[in-house]
């Protein structure tokens, strides 16, 4: 358990040496180093061989890496017990798991959980929640608690058994939360505009709704980035402000 804890904390540095050649490869080796030391002993030939074996290209979603660590470590255990031919499999499994897990992680965390929590926090700013400093603090807790539980749990689970892993991730992917995102997102955006209409002076809320509609109409047609839209909105508004 002590080693698992060490690996868990070290896995936060998975991308510390991110580079275009090995991507997270170095970070992966850094993460599992305590486990390798435990299996092969300090300063042994086998330890150095294992380190060299794991210093290869590797890439996945940073929150998903625990699944890979758990699985590949169990193969390392077999190698340390002297199972022949497992060396090749130990590095192959990293690539086989890394790609699909990255795609899942992007969908679950980057494309769902992040906008969901971010929009909620932004809504709180629009609604004028007081005291203001609570907004970033609650946001960071609300975002991280499930993530840290997930990262820890997936590491422990992957150490124990292989088959449960797929079920766990699949459950999250098909859960209510990923499906509800578009509806929740639209609700939060409407909430922002309604809150602006109530709390902002004059017809500022209505104005915001009109400009938002302009972006919704223009963006897919012009195929411009959100940064470009920022400047277009600013240009229209400044021009309008100068004319009046």
């Amino acid at each position: 358990m002590k080693t698992i804890r060490k690996v868990f904390f070290r896995s936060f540095l998975l991308q510390a040496v991110w580079n275009y050649e090995l991507m997270q490869g170095v970070g992966y080796l850094y993460s599992i180093l305590p486990e390798l030391k435990k299996l092969y002993g300090e300063k042994t030939e086998e330890l150095i061989a294992a380190c060299r074996r794991h210093l290869t290209y590797f890439n996945t979603h940073p929150y998903m890496v625990a699944f890979v660590i758990g699985t590949s470590t169990r193969i390392e255990e077999e190698i340390s017990r002297g199972k022949a031919g497992a060396e090749e499999y130990s590095t192959k499994i990293k690539l086989q798991l890394g790609g699909p897990l990255a795609a899942l992680g992007d969908k679950i965390f980057w494309a769902t959980w992040r906008p969901l929590t971010g929009l909620t926090a932004v809504f709180c700013v629009f609604a004028g929640v007081r005291p203001g400093y609570l907004i970033p603090l609650v946001f960071i807790l609300f975002y991280n608690i499930p993530i840290i539980i997930f990262r820890w749990r997936s590491l422990v689970l992957a150490y124990r058994a292989q088959t449960e892993i797929a079920d766990e991730v699949w459950k999250i992917n098909n859960s209510f939360i990923t499906k509800a995102l578009p509806y929740f997102g639209l609700l939060a955006i409407t909430g922002c505009i309604v809150a602006a209409a109530i709390t902002w002076p004059g017809f500022r809320g209505l104005q915001l709704a009109v400009y938002t509609a302009i972006v919704v109409i223009l963006k897919p047609r012009l195929k411009l980035s959100v940064t470009a839209m920022l400047y277009i909105i600013a240009a229209i508004s400044i021009a309008a402000g100068l004319m009046i």
Partner: protein, 212 residues
């Protein structure tokens, strides 16, 4: 002195985006108001954070893509705006002028990611010699470099910005300043509208240029 504290804090927030943890300290809605809190002006931080968070809410760092840096813009804009009193028109002016610098920082980030291969090669060499100590050392060196890069970029940006930007802004004249102040209330539309089109037409998401 405050400049130094904010840059240190901002440098830490910026390592979170890639090198350390991904706890979202680097998100504008956290980084900007916390910067404001340090400077005793949470409101300005919340305003900057709100606009920047909306602008980057639909940007997803896919695979080996380097996303534009929202943290450097959020922290520097909050600092420069709040020491000048947190005028809304000034906030808009700062965001518009600092976003290109966020893109510049992204380029610097790409350079470091290229340089990082050096650490990986050195690690390989050391392993061949039978020395495993460089696995830890190389990782911490690279992490330090990530931090130092963000810290220095912020320090220079905040220092130069606090000197130069008020001078430019005061030369704008009342009409333009008022127009910028009015723009503050419509600027969130860029992010809100993009988010709507992302949620409504899932397909347009993959075409978003910011993901490249």
């Amino acid at each position: 002195m405050k400049m130094l504290i904010v840059s240190l804090l901002g440098g830490f927030f910026m390592t979170d985006a890639v090198a350390f943890g991904q706890f979202m300290f680097s998100r504008p809605i956290f980084a900007a108001p916390v910067t404001g809190l340090v400077l005793g002006d949470v409101t300005t931080g919340l305003y900057v954070g709100m606009i920047m968070e909306l602008v980057w809410i639909t940007v997803v760092p896919l695979g080996n893509v380097v996303p534009p840096d929202a943290t450097v813009v959020s922290v520097s804009a909050t600092h420069i705006a709040s020491v000048a009193g947190g005028d809304k028109g000034y906030i808009v002016f700062l965001i518009l002028i600092l976003v290109p610098l966020g893109i510049l920082f992204k380029k610097v980030d790409v350079l470091q990611r290229e340089f990082n291969a050096y650490f990986a090669h050195k690690m390989e060499e050391r392993l061949e010699e039978g020395d495993i100590s460089y696995i830890d050392r190389g990782t911490y060196l690279s992490l330090g470099l990530f931090f130092l890069k963000g810290f220095l970029f912020l320090l220079i940006l905040i220092w130069a910005g606090t000197e130069i930007f008020p001078f430019i802004y005061s030369g704008f004249g009342e009409n333009l300043q008022e127009a910028l102040g009015g723009t503050f209330f419509v600027l969130p539309a860029a992010g809100l509208g993009t988010a709507i089109s992302t949620f409504m037409f899932k397909k347009s998401q993959s075409k978003d240029k910011d993901r490249r």
